[in-house]
């Protein structure tokens, strides 16, 4: 743990400590041990002399509780964890001046609500993507353009609908409700008052009877789409790309828009190796490393220069990297907190623990 007092950002770099410990999504920190061809860590180690140990996590929530152990210097956090980490005082502000590669990052990713607080940067954007809608082209016809296939019209695919297994998914419903029930007045899917949340919950409860399974790891969803156990539901671009050739599935960014994530490399408030941590943040933001990591994981890179280094020359295009319009349709994951993110002051918004309880009850 740490204190809730904001710590000061570092102003200058010191000597490398010789090691750094990272916490990240699977596929963000690859050192060749799993596949000798996939390795961007060794280069960093050679360059800086910082030995990397890493641990992966499966959900943002796991990342949040792991950071509480104080074992990690650096974390790659999605928006639904980052603010909580800041709030809990587990991470420190990041002085972007100490990170030369910060310059190359797409502007629309900088100083956003999920990576900064009160104008203070808490990290470096890594990669981003949208939570898309995937459907089986043979079963789901005509090709959907709206989220209604998984909500109001989901009964047509009873038992073959899927959704991402996390409380943050409630934002998907909120995005849908922004269009379909404007009277609720949802401005930001992460700032829901009790009525708004109740409406989202109801949407999911109605959907629950048609759900085949929820997914939390992408292997599960890949399998389910390949076998046909699941025909429609939320997904990531990378899942679509992993499907076996010939699998009749397509993804779409529905007209209502979508939620998404933009991950941020953050530094622990009481990091044991802050200098190696800064070195890592700079390294992973470099066009080469950023390209390797985001391509391997399957998301858009954050560094504009990365598109020149991807193995697949079309990678940036496939993942809509740098497409500001596309990015504008995405509501990046943010942690819901009691103080409404949309600026309302007349009501109290529901916070993440409310969402968690609601999600458990939806699953039942």
């Amino acid at each position: 743990g740490g204190t809730t007092e904001p710590t000061e950002a570092q102003t200058a770099l010191g000597a490398m400590e010789g090691s750094v410990s990272l916490l990240a999504w699977p596929g963000y920190v690859e050192d060749g041990t799993n596949d000798p061809e996939v390795d961007w860590v060794s280069a960093f180690e050679d360059e800086t002399g910082c030995t990397v140990t890493s641990k992966t996590y499966g959900t943002s929530d796991e990342a949040f509780s792991l950071m509480k152990t104080g074992d990690y210097d650096v974390v790659a956090a999605s928006g639904d964890a980052s603010l909580r980490l800041v709030g809990a005082g587990d991470v420190a502000p990041v002085n972007t001046d100490l990170i030369p590669n910060y310059e190359g990052i797409f502007d629309f990713l900088k100083m956003q609500s999920w990576n900064s607080v009160d104008g203070v940067s808490y990290g470096i954007p890594h990669g981003y993507g949208a939570n898309l809608l995937m459907y089986n082209t043979e079963v789901v016809t005509p090709a959907p353009t709206s989220w209604d296939v998984v909500f109001d019209k989901s009964s047509a695919y009873k038992g073959a609908v899927t959704a991402y297994d996390s409380p943050i998914s409630l934002a998907d419903a909120a995005v849908y409700l922004m269009t379909h029930q404007p009277e609720l007045g949802i401005e930001n899917p992460y700032a829901l008052d009790e009525t708004q949340l109740a409406a989202s919950v109801q949407l999911f409860k109605d959907q629950r009877v048609n759900i085949g399974e929820y997914w939390s790891d992408y292997l599960k969803e890949v399998q389910a789409f390949e076998t046909g156990d699941t025909v429609v539901g939320t997904t990531w671009q990378v899942i679509r790309n992993s499907l076996a050739e010939g699998t009749p599935a397509e993804v779409v960014l529905p007209e209502e828009g979508a939620t998404g994530w933009s991950d941020t490399w953050m530094i622990a408030a009481n990091a044991k190796s802050p200098n190696c941590a800064y070195a890592w943040l700079d390294y992973i933001a470099s066009p080469e490393a950023n390209a390797q990591a985001t391509e391997y994981f399957g998301e858009a890179p954050s560094n504009a220069g990365a598109c020149d280094f991807t193995v697949n020359p079309d990678h940036c295009e496939i993942f809509h990297a740098g497409d500001a319009d596309y990015a504008a349709q995405i509501w990046y994951w943010s942690t819901p907190i009691a103080e409404c993110l949309d600026g309302r002051t007349d009501v109290k918004c529901t916070d993440y623990s409310d969402w968690t309880t609601a999600w458990q009850e939806i699953k039942g």
Binding site: G212, L219, K220, T356, Q360, K363
Partner: protein, 308 residues
Amino acid sequence: MTVDASAPPTRRAVVPPQRGNIARRGSVFLSRHPRLRLSLLLSAPLFWLGLVYIAALAALLITALWTVDSFTGQISQTWTLDNIVAVLTGSLYQTVTLRTVGVALLVTIIDIVIALPIAFYMAKVASPRAQRILVIAILMPLWASYLVKAYAWRSVLSQGGIFEWLVSPFGGHSPGYGLPATIITLSYLWLPYVILPIYAGLERVPDSLLEASADLGGGTWSTLRLVVLPMIWPAIIAGSIFSFSLSLGDYITVNIVGGANQMLGNLVYTNVGAANNLPLAAAIAFIPILIIFAYLAAVRRTGALNNL
């Protein structure tokens, strides 16, 4: 005994007297103080189990009486019964508890029903050689990782998977992902843990009792019902402790093949992992602890606890 005449009645060789080294003096001392011997034996393990385990459990239960700050994730040590009350009254917890206990019971019953004939065949019918091979065959799958096996079942039970392929000629369907799949997979995972104690229990039933029953006119079923079953009951209970408690706490299998369902383990896991609400998780953990204690208390009399 024709004693060797060449051996003189004065003894053959000199047997040295007992040696008086430290080990020996220790032995002498200890042999006079059985209580000390007992405390030497038990202090290390009791220290371990008491300090590591019981203290940890107690601490966990105390945690259930605290709360957590939802935004910072800090536990604040103010005493409250909120979590306990929430768990006791929340309909979510009741539903999930019922579902979990139901799954665990079904898994246990299925495993016992499957294990009985196999264990019987192994212990009482198969030749010693076949017996040995069968034990190996039962033990080997234990070494394929739990996760790998669970994913394998996911594949088997998927649409167009092997299961469907096997049963469709008979008009059957794969149950798909859901509680039935969970029950099948859990039964599969814990089956060896149930077969082994029952097999050991059957081995301890002397053949002469089975013969005595047949001799008195008991047919196969009478013998099984009246003699074999009551005698291996403790072994069955022992096996059931494995399948029941392992199922009760599982959250991974249900995630993989359970479709949209969740069990008690998921609630605990979500609350500790996702919601970072250890006090609530601890309160939920009370449920399986109570169930297991009740179960252990119920079966203690059968002597099953000596048969695990």
